[in-house]
């Protein structure tokens, strides 16, 4: 037996002796855990419900905003111009590339605005950082990045809030080993286990929203 083994055996004995007489109140522990766990579950359900409602409200607002410009007037007349246009008129007016290439019915015969200049490419950033001790992460690309600690690898993905309920409830996307965050400023993050045995729920504690 090596000195290391003797030390380990002796330490094990000391540790067992030290806690042998420690007997927790299991009934109280159970009751308090059920109360606190119930609150956690309630908050999760609340988050899902508010997310769903928020998504519906956002979709309704979007539909109202798009309606006057994307559909012709039902009586055949062009829609009246808005007294408070959302985009400024004048030579600087431009359209996103898709709209500029495919004019809608209301745009035929009118002067087609020029497409917007393409913005310069900027380094990709995501609104979350993952800073678990012993873990390193790749540079974000397409709203996702991978992190690993040599034993496990996870994929962190930032997604639009409208898909949040799918990732919680839809059997195609809800993965029991996958962590799904709450919504922060219109986005949420998922942590998916790619390799190894790491617990994504625990790793989620190291996810920080910027």
């Amino acid at each position: 037996m090596t000195e290391h083994d003797r030390g380990a055996e002796e330490l094990g004995t000391l540790l067992r002796d030290r806690v042998r007489d420690f007997h927790p109140d299991l009934a109280a522990l159970t009751a308090s855990a059920i109360r606190a766990g119930g609150r956690i579950r309630y908050r999760r359900r609340l988050t899902v419900a508010s997310t769903t409602l928020g998504g519906v409200a956002a979709a309704a607002v979007l539909a109202v905003q798009l309606a006057p410009t994307s559909s012709p007037s039902p009586d055949g007349f062009a829609a009246a111009p808005s007294p408070h246009p959302s985009t400024p008129a004048g030579p600087s007016r431009c359209l996103p590339p898709l709209q500029a290439q495919v004019p809608g019915p209301a745009q035929v015969g009118r002067q087609t605005p020029s497409p917007c200049p393409t913005p310069p490419a900027a380094p990709q950033t995501v609104p979350v950082t993952f800073d678990a001790p012993g873990w390193t992460c790749d540079t974000p690309a397409d709203d996702k990045f991978t992190c690993g600690d040599g034993a496990s690898t996870v994929l962190v993905t930032v997604r639009p809030a409208k898909f949040h309920s799918d990732y919680l409830n839809n059997s195609d996307k809800a993965d029991p080993t996958q962590f799904v965050s709450g919504i922060h400023d219109g986005s949420f993050a998922t942590i998916q286990l790619v390799g190894g045995n790491a617990s994504t729920d625990h790793l989620a504690e190291y996810l920080t929203w910027n």
């Binding site: 290391h4 030390g7 380990a8 002796e10 330490l11 094990g12 000391l14 540790l15 067992r16 030290r18 806690v19 420690f22 007997h23 927790p24 299991l26 522990l29 159970t30 308090s32 855990a33 059920i34 109360r35 606190a36 766990g37 119930g38 609150r39 956690i40 579950r41 999760r44 001790p133 012993g134 600690d149 040599g150 034993a151 496990s152 029991p176 190894g196 045995n197 790491a198 617990s199 729920d201 625990h202 790793l203 504690e205 190291y206």
Partner: protein, 163 residues
């Protein structure tokens, strides 16, 4: 359905509570912190019960360890571990020499202490300890060896302690 859940969970806590709270005591070194840590762990277990019911003990053990380590990580800037090997005199009366093993564990970093508790109190293998702590097996061996080296003088003192 909820009654069944509560019944299963209660049985689980009664079967594992003593083990987990003792581990929490060895990790935190304080009875009240151990109770808080164990309660927080079981609350998370209860909240996730339906999806972890195939192996709730593994989930509970991991939750306990990670909750402890993340809690220590938040506090590490404001607290420094006590180095008993330097601060405590090597000579003196028996009462002075008597060093509680919890105090000895307090000289270790959080992750090293977790390795010690898993390896030498729970008798977990190197591989299982690595999985529990999400670190490599080499890291487990290195941390265990380093922690034992640090604890050795303290253990030597406790050997001279009258029981």
């Amino acid at each position: 359905m909820r009654a069944q859940l509560v019944e299963d969970f209660t049985a689980f806590v009664h079967g594992t509570g003593a083990q987990l709270e003792r581990a929490a005591l060895l990790l935190t070194g304080d009875h009240h912190l151990a109770e808080d840590l164990t309660q927080a762990t079981y609350a998370k277990v209860y909240a996730a019960w339906r999806r972890i019911s195939d192996d709730p003990l593994a989930y509970a053990r991991k939750t306990l360890l990670h909750t402890y380590i993340s809690h220590r990580r938040l506090r590490r800037n404001s607290e420094q571990p006590v180095d008993w090997t330097e601060d405590r005199p090597a000579t003196g009366s028996d009462a002075e020499l008597r060093i509680d093993v919890l105090d000895a564990l307090a000289t270790l970093r959080a992750l090293d202490r977790a390795v010690i508790v898993l390896r030498y109190w729970e008798d977990r293998s190197v591989a299982d300890t690595a999985i529990d702590l999400d670190i490599s097996e080499d890291a487990v061996r290195t941390r265990a060896r380093r922690a034992l080296q640090k604890l050795r003088p303290i253990l030597a003192n406790s050997e001279r302690t009258p029981s």
